[in-house]
């Protein structure tokens, strides 16, 4: 089979993976080599679905021995199968890289032979790139559940980022939809990566000669909407992954119906994009706004409101904490006001050092005044509308949200440089 045919098959099979980030690693070029990695990540193009293309995202093979209900490449489907050789992947990566099409490689694979056999081949691709071609660009390697610790270790020395996909948010769903995967085969490598990552990082503080282990950290992905878990379960799991396993990112992938199965949503159902979007917003609150999962959702409200930004929803439920005064509130308090982001909160603090903020300054500083005004006072003056009932306020905040297509997929954009 020609490389071009393989590329079509194996890029098509990889398109369901949400992550394409190339951030978090800083690597410089070495003598005789090519490439470097930029800390902030770089998008090289955007595909017709509006997602950033940063890496050559492909599977090494789609010839799977597993039979996950939600996956197109599963064993029981009849479709063209292909497997790249290590040289083919290296050649594509290098040549795309030299033309500046990509930041590096994102290699994943279906399981062929055995998890270890697959993982060993993936590690070989990385070794070929790093050692023979002296490639210093970004490599994101997916770890096959059930891979041996030794292979995971080797992978960590070669790749910038590793990820083990959680796939489904509970063991029960895993049993039902991904029968050959277990919580153990997923969590064990994840834990190992977490521990080695922290361990090597600690040692590197003492000596620069200690090798880098997976310098951009690890991420994972779960499918949303294929199984019955609530947003509360998903977000709590996410929080644990961030705090206990030191994950860098958790990605959510709205389930796309590709197979028929009694245990899955119908083929005709579209991917739950709004839900995915709300989860990313809530995830954002965990990572940058110092929120905890139980503040955003509770057993009484286990799902995110699809018509409200989760931060707005939180503020409306905790309206007794507001209004707060722009000239007196702490950084943490400012961050919790809808319409104030990390940048504008920082600017408020910086400006206040010099002079008090006036009402007419708010917009200039970058607040979304339309949203923030209901939650703030300035010099004792409430900027919202006193006569509005709480119900009316909720209505106003809902209609202030434009769920247009642009906002929906915003998460796929990479973090801007400050």
């Amino acid at each position: 089979m020609k490389t071009s045919e393989k590329l079509t098959i194996l890029a098509d099979a990889a398109k369901y993976d949400a992550s394409c980030s190339s951030s978090g690693s800083s690597r410089s070029n070495t003598a005789g080599g090519i490439g470097s990695a930029a800390m902030s990540g770089i998008c090289h193009s955007w595909s017709a679905d509006g997602r950033c293309i940063s890496l050559l995202k492909i599977l090494l093979s789609n010839d799977c021995i597993f039979d996950c209900a939600y996956c197109l490449s599963r064993r029981s489907n009849t479709l063209p199968r292909a497997t790249f050789t290590a040289e083919e992947v290296a050649d594509l990566t290098i040549n795309f890289y030299l033309r500046n099409y990509i930041e590096g490689l994102f290699l994943s694979s279906a399981v062929y032979g055995s998890p270890d056999r697959t993982m060993a081949d993936m590690v070989d691709v990385c070794r070929l790139l790093r050692k023979k071609h002296r490639f210093n660009g970004y490599i994101h390697l997916k770890v096959i559940p059930g891979s041996s610790p030794e292979l995971v270790r080797q992978a960590g020395f070669l790749a910038d980022r590793l990820s083990v996909n959680i796939e489904l948010p509970s063991e029960q769903s895993l049993k039902m939809l991904a029968p050959q995967k277990t919580k153990r085969t997923i969590m064990v490598p994840m834990q190992q990566i977490g521990e080695e990552y922290s361990g090597f990082q600690r040692d590197r503080m003492k000596s620069r000669n200690v090798p880098c282990f997976c310098p951009a950290g690890q991420s994972t992905q779960m499918i949303v909407g294929a199984s019955a878990e609530s947003d509360l379960q998903i977000l709590t799991l996410t929080e644990n992954l961030y705090t206990r396993m030191q994950l860098k990112r958790v990605y959510y992938s709205a389930y796309m119906a590709v197979n028929t199965s009694p245990n899955l949503p119908a083929l005709t159902s579209g991917p739950p994009l709004v839900r995915e979007h709300r989860l990313y917003q809530a995830d954002w609150l965990l990572r940058f706004y110092r929120f905890q999962a139980h503040e955003i959702l509770s057993a009484a409200h286990p799902f995110l409101d699809d018509r409200l930004d989760p931060k707005v929803a939180w503020a409306l439920r905790n309206f007794d904490l507001f209004p707060i005064d722009i000239n007196r509130a702490s950084y943490e308090e400012l961050l919790r006001v809808p319409g104030i982001g990390v940048t504008s909160a920082r600017r408020i603090i910086a400006t206040r050092r010099l002079c008090a903020i006036r009402e007419e300054d708010l917009k200039k500083i970058g607040l979304v005044v339309k949203r923030a005004r209901h939650f703030i006072t300035i010099g004792g003056k409430y900027l919202g509308d006193h006569t509005m009932s709480h119900q009316q306020l909720v209505g106003a905040m809902r209609s202030a949200e434009k769920p247009g297509s642009i906002k929906l997929l915003r998460e796929t954009r990479q973090l801007r440089l400050f």
Partner: protein, 259 residues
């Protein structure tokens, strides 16, 4: 006292000289412009400031002492090529003379906000283009990338690619401004690109076939097919694609050819 307009020769040093001159004059300032972008109006008090390296240097080292923001606002302000920037830099210096470096974060001030936004725009475009640049492998084993940009960011791009491409030679060509930089594997130098070649590139968004390396078309096609395949039809969102990758950049993008 009437307020004056100061003109400079359009170079970085010239701009700094004019700002320094305006500050020193102590009078009220109406505008500071590149003389090429300015036509004299009746009643304008116009002063043409000769470029004075020493004054420019002095001002620049004052700005350096104020810290990174001041330097960024100044350099990016210049690279942003906006007509009004001289005046805002003058305002910035005045504010800093009064309040010190803290003034650089005074976002309620119009000039600081202007400079901060302009600076972000320049950084943003440099960052964006570091991804959108497309090299073509030429016969002579040189990688060549034509592009057009709103701000003058070729310097930032050259810095980026010189750390990245190792011993491979490249040429970055800002076709709009007709500036080219060449990396020979150890240093960056300004060069001139043949004008017939440049005209062809400008018109076609691509290098003439006769100059392309043997495998160039092959990898272009692979990239095009990868680019088309990796999109999810179920999530198609061309509007978002255009928003994140504005059409004005498509001309030299191999994958957007024919779109």
């Amino acid at each position: 006292m009437t307020s004056s307009i100061y003109l400079h020769d359009g170079s970085f040093e010239g701009m700094l000289s004019a700002v320094a001159f305006a500050v020193k004059s102590g009078g009220s300032v109406h505008g500071i412009y590149d003389e090429k972008s300015y036509s004299v109006q009746l009643f304008d008090m116009v002063v043409t400031v000769p470029t004075d390296s020493l004054q420019a240097e002095k001002l620049f080292s004052y700005l350096k002492n104020l810290g990174e923001y001041a330097v960024q606002f100044t350099i990016n302000g210049f690279l942003g090529e906006e007509r009004a920037v001289g005046f805002h830099l003058y305002q910035m210096v005045q504010l800093c003379l009064r309040h010190g470096a803290r003034a650089l974060e005074l976002y309620r001030d119009d000039s600081i906000r202007y400079l901060s936004q302009l600076s972000r725009r320049v950084n943003g475009e440099a960052h964006r283009l570091s991804g959108l640049i497309r090299f073509r492998e030429l016969k002579e084993d040189i990688y060549y990338a034509p592009f057009e940009s709103d701000c003058n960011v070729i310097g930032y791009l050259a810095r980026h690619f010189s750390c990245r491409m190792g011993s491979r030679q490249w040429i970055l060509h800002d076709v709009g401004r007709n500036i080219s930089l060449h990396w020979d594997g150890s240093k960056v130098q300004s060069i001139e690109v043949d004008s017939a070649f440049t005209t062809y590139v400008l018109e076609n968004g691509e290098v003439p076939d006769t100059h392309l390396g043997n495998t160039e078309r092959y990898y272009q096609q692979l990239w095009q097919s990868f680019h088309a395949t990796i999109a999810n039809p179920d999530r198609e969102n061309r509007k978002l694609q255009r928003q994140l990758m504005p059409k004005r950049y498509w001309r030299y993008l191999v994958e957007m050819r024919g779109n």
